[in-house]
């Protein structure tokens, strides 16, 4: 790393030119290790997706909302975005090619309407990750979108067990 922790070099080129001084940090393994390593494997991923669906539906039912169901095309699109985030080393909703969540759903053959998408770069499991999203109002609104009927849960595991989650919510 070029700059040492806490190094302050103030010479911002200004307007629309500074990077955010209080931006959140990247993940570190030390911080996550307190929770133990949670490995998603090809063998258990179907169960992982099902557990996420159940968790979300329990949460939605508590809010009086209709359930959602996993959709194969949305799962494929979400898996693609999880991998794309790992490749970009960035938790966000765009592909390296600039694709948005609706773009990717359409490409995967999904014919409904994407309502929103949540992502997380973490060592947390799917249940913890849904809880994490519930903790932010804008993200909770996606989980609790009354119009939601179908979801895709994608995950990509790095060799070091870091997980890249993508939850695409659609009707």
């Amino acid at each position: 790393m070029r700059a040492a922790f806490g190094l302050v070099a103030v010479l911002a080129v200004a307007a629309c030119a500074q990077l955010n001084p209080s931006a959140p940090p990247r993940l570190d393994k030390a911080g996550a290790s307190a929770q133990g390593i949670y490995a998603v494997t090809p063998e258990n991923v179907a169960g992982v997706r099902k557990r996420a669906e159940d968790t979300l539906n329990t949460t939605r039912a508590a809010a009086g909302l209709a359930p959602v169901a996993l959709d194969a095309a949305l799962v494929a699109a979400a898996d693609g975005q999880s991998r794309a985030m790992a490749e970009q080393d960035r938790a966000w909703n765009f592909g390296a090619d600039g694709s948005s969540p609706p773009d990717r759903a359409r490409r995967a053959g999904f014919e409904g309407h994407v309502l929103g998408e949540l992502v997380s770069e973490t060592y947390e499991n799917e249940v913890q990750t849904i809880a994490t999203w519930m903790g932010t109002p804008a993200q909770r609104a996606v989980l609790l979108d009354p119009a939601a009927r179908r979801i895709g849960l994608g995950v990509y595991r790095e060799p070091g067990n870091k997980l890249w989650w993508t939850l695409t919510v659609a009707n």
Binding site: R2, A3, A4, F5, L7, V8, A9, V10, L11, A12, V13, A14, A15, C16, A17, Q18, L19, N20, P21, S22, A23, P24, P25, R26, L27, D28, A30, G31, A32, A34, Q35, Q88, D89, R90, A91, W92, N93, A96, D97, G98, S100, P101, P102, L115, G116, E117, L118, V119, S120, E121, T122, Y123, E124, T129, T132, W133, T136, A138, Q139, V142
Partner: protein
């Protein structure tokens, strides 16, 4: 859309929703931002919400731009709805620098010259007087002036700013995207910052 992020250079620049950190670190725009690891940081999250123009505009007369500052996304609908664009954007660095509401495009600037506003100069007297067109120009290759003084939708000098809180109030998008948007919008195109 290529995107030459230096991996090591982006520690500390993750996206929305993650735990915030105590020690603010101000760095030169060209430099890395580095923040000490923290046990409190267990995830970096982000979210996207789809948008319908009908929820924000009465009509699409002259087209409409919606800047969703929460999702860090710019949406554009053309007047006849034949074109709908969704682009990731930079957003203001702080709530204090954030202005929300309805405005419109009042001026289209090709290869704009960047001049710091009085507020920016007050915060940093060492700013250059101006930066002409070129790779170091914070406005990138095109700028759309809004009816609010000093607020613009523009291109970008550093791609790392896209999808991150990096502006003094403006909304920046990739240069290739502002170049496409520039050709589609007209004076009077409606704009909402949400």
């Amino acid at each position: 859309m290529t995107h030459s992020l230096t991996r090591r250079g982006l520690f500390g620049l993750a996206s929305a929703g993650a735990a915030t950190l105590a020690a603010p670190t101000l760095l030169r725009a060209q430099d890395v931002t580095t923040i000490a690891p923290s046990a409190a940081n267990r995830h970096n999250t982000a979210s996207f919400r789809s948008q319908r123009w009908q929820d924000h505009f009465q009509s699409l007369r002259k087209g409409a731009i919606l800047c969703d500052l929460e999702s860090r996304v710019l949406h554009y609908w053309s007047e006849d709805e034949s074109t709908y664009l969704v682009y990731p954007s930079s957003v203001p660095m702080s709530e204090e620098l954030t202005r929300r509401g309805y405005t419109e495009v009042v001026l289209k600037r090709h290869s704009p010259t960047w001049i710091p506003t009085p507020d920016m100069r007050a915060r940093d007297p060492d700013l250059p007087k101006s930066i002409g067109p070129g790779p170091d120009n914070p406005l990138g290759t095109r700028a759309l002036n809004l009816s609010w003084q000093y607020y613009r939708i523009h291109g970008i000098d550093l791609v790392e700013k896209i999808g991150r809180p990096a502006s003094n109030g403006c909304v920046g998008i990739y240069n290739e995207n502002i170049e496409r948007l520039f050709d589609l919008v007209e004076i009077g195109t409606q704009v909402r910052l949400l």
